[in-house]
């Protein structure tokens, strides 16, 4: 199947991944993956465990060095940059295991996200958005991050990433290990985040729920791109209905 061409038209793409290959100690984890994300979209990358979804995000975020291929963000090659420079360009990444600072308070975790910006008004600006998205974080500001529930930790991880004021937010399985009620809350928050002007690239195993909020989807299988299209196209694809949605 051809790489997606919906988003690349007219050079509107915020993020372009071109034939990216990443290997761990010689073992190919993802092979020649090409995706693109346009400004304002919610794009989901789906696939089973071990399909290479997390590797894809890590390779984009600069946490893994790709073996081959190119990643461009805002028209700039980023696949050779270190992670902190990629974040500074406006690409925020929330890893699967959240990676909060458990001994610091919720407020200090948020503050750490904001230190990318020099002036205090710039640093504090996203706080209002964060508290609107997740009011319960406001109640927990003085509490150590390690004492939060799983769902609250996910909210904090997303909020901390938003404090860097990204153009693109990449979330790796935000629903993992979280009680169902909070999963809905987090998916709803992703939609609200898009409304604030932040583009979202989401990796999920929960295909049905993520297709409900996504514009487009890519499906990976054992490191290769096997399907892509609009959320509706992917949802209606016979293989997807059979294999992932159990219909």
């Amino acid at each position: 199947m051809l790489p997606d061409d919906h988003a690349t038209e007219g050079g509107r793409a915020l993020l372009t991944v071109d034939r990216l290959t990443t290997a761990y100690r010689g073992l190919i984890a993802i092979s020649e993956i090409s995706i693109s994300v346009a400004r304002g979209e919610i794009v989901v990358v789906a696939g089973a465990n071990g399909a290479g979804k997390s590797t894809l995000l890590k390779s984009i975020a600069g946490m893994e060095k790709p073996r081959d291929g190119a990643v461009s963000f805002l028209g700039k090659r980023i696949d050779t940059l270190p992670g902190h420079e990629i974040t500074a360009l406006g690409l925020a990444y929330v890893p699967e295991n959240k990676r909060l600072f458990p001994r610091l308070t919720v407020a200090d975790n948020l503050r750490l996200g904001s230190y990318l910006h020099r002036s205090k008004p710039d640093r504090d600006a996203p706080l209002e958005t964060v508290f609107t998205l997740f009011p319960r974080l406001k109640e927990r500001l003085g509490q150590r991050a390690g004492t939060l529930s799983g769902g609250e930790q996910q909210m904090l991880a997303i909020s901390r990433a938003l404090m860097t004021r990204p153009a693109l937010l990449m979330l790796d399985e935000p629903s993992q290990g979280i009680m169902p009620k909070l999963v809905d809350e987090i998916f709803a928050a992703v939609q609200s985040i898009r409304k604030t002007g932040v583009t979202v690239l989401l990796v999920e195993q929960r295909l049905a729920e993520s297709l409900d909020i996504a514009d487009r989807a890519y499906v990976l299988q054992t490191g290769r791109l096997v399907l892509d299209g609009t959320a509706k196209e992917v949802r209606d694809h016979p293989d997807i209905r059979r294999v992932y949605l159990g219909m």
């Binding site: 992670g83 990676r99 600072f101 200090d108 750490l112 990318l116 109640e139 509490q143 150590r144």
Partner: protein, 322 residues
């Protein structure tokens, strides 16, 4: 009053109390212990910047201490330059040295980093041992002169050394106080807790470590300069052995690693204890202080890994939900 203002008030109280002490204590031996306690508190506070806040456990800070002591001594004994400038020069040299050594060493993580620091400090000790221009194994004797604040020589009265050590402690405390609320301080704690997460938030992990190492080395060298003036005779063994590296790390670990008051609390317990046992045991007690350090490390790591200060922290409890 905010928590931060409270800390400043607390510091003022401590400083006033310590400044009065030399008026009350006249015994030279006790003043000596007081000077050493404050000096190690300052040195441990410097070590704490890199070890406590940034989480890079150095056991080679004796190198920077030695560089400070030697720079000050050479400048004074050979060129007659005041130790105030000599110590500053030592600080700058140490800072550059820390940056040069940090470049390869910060590619190592955890224990490997600590081992590298021990080895490098030992190499430094051997080099100075065999470097005749700085006195080799014989060391450097400070020329005897009248008591003066310019040369920092006080033969009769030890009180000025108390004030100097106190001043050094206050400076390192204030630097740490500033760090606690600054961008660097947050970055360092992030690097300590989780370098990958720090990186994903735009923290330059490598540069953060380098900055912490440079600042830490600078103040450690100032302490070395002070010590050289205080004892007015140095040789490689008396300023650069592993024992010093241990004595900079231990008060912070004992009192509370990565805390504002940990180094002073730790030094106030550790230094009098070791000095007093050393003098009571005389020559036969050689090595007893090392046994005490070992025992204290074991007790702390088993009973209170967060240090003595954690005994007083109400909000340190994990169940502190509002």
């Amino acid at each position: 009053m905010t928590h931060r203002q409270l800390q400043l008030v607390l510091l003022s109280g401590v400083v006033i109390a310590l400044a009065i002490l030399p008026r009350v204590i006249t015994d030279v031996y006790m003043l000596n212990v007081l000077v050493l306690t404050l000096m190690y508190a300052a040195l441990s506070q410097s070590w704490n910047i890199l070890g406590g806040y940034c989480g890079q456990i150095s056991l080679g800070h004796a190198l920077y201490f030695g560089v400070g002591a030697y720079a000050t001594s050479v400048f004074y004994a050979s060129f007659g330059i005041t130790p105030w400038l000599g110590a500053l020069a030592g600080g700058v040299i140490s800072m550059l040295l820390a940056l040069g050594l940090g470049y390869p060493c910060f590619r190592l993580k955890g224990h490997y980093f600590s081992i590298a620091t021990i080895v490098i400090a030992e190499i430094g000790l051997l080099l100075v041992h065999n470097w005749d221009a700085v006195g080799g194994a014989l060391g450097i004797q400070w020329p005897i002169g009248p008591d003066s604040w310019v040369t920092l020589q006080f033969a009769r009265d030890k009180a000025p050394y108390v004030y100097l050590a106190l001043g050094l402690f206050v400076i390192t405390w204030l630097v740490t106080y500033w760090i606690e609320d600054s961008r660097w301080g947050f970055w360092w704690r992030a690097v300590k807790d989780n370098p990958e997460a720090a990186e994903s938030l735009g923290v330059e992990v490598f540069r953060s470590k380098m900055a912490a190492a440079a600042l830490s080395a600078f103040f450690t060298a100032l302490g070395g300069g002070f010590y050289a003036a205080f004892v007015s005779y140095i040789d490689p063994e008396s300023v650069m052995t592993f024992r010093f590296s241990l004595l900079f790390a231990l008060p912070a670990v004992l009192g509370g690693i990565g805390t504002l008051w940990g180094p002073l609390v730790g030094a106030a317990v550790l230094i009098p204890l070791t000095e007093i046992t050393r003098s009571y045991m005389g020559g036969s007690g050689n090595g007893l202080d090392l046994i005490i350090y070992g025992a204290l490390i074991m007790i702390i790591s088993l009973a209170k890994p967060e240090g003595i200060l954690s005994l007083f922290h109400r909000n340190a409890k994990p169940d502190a939900r509002p």
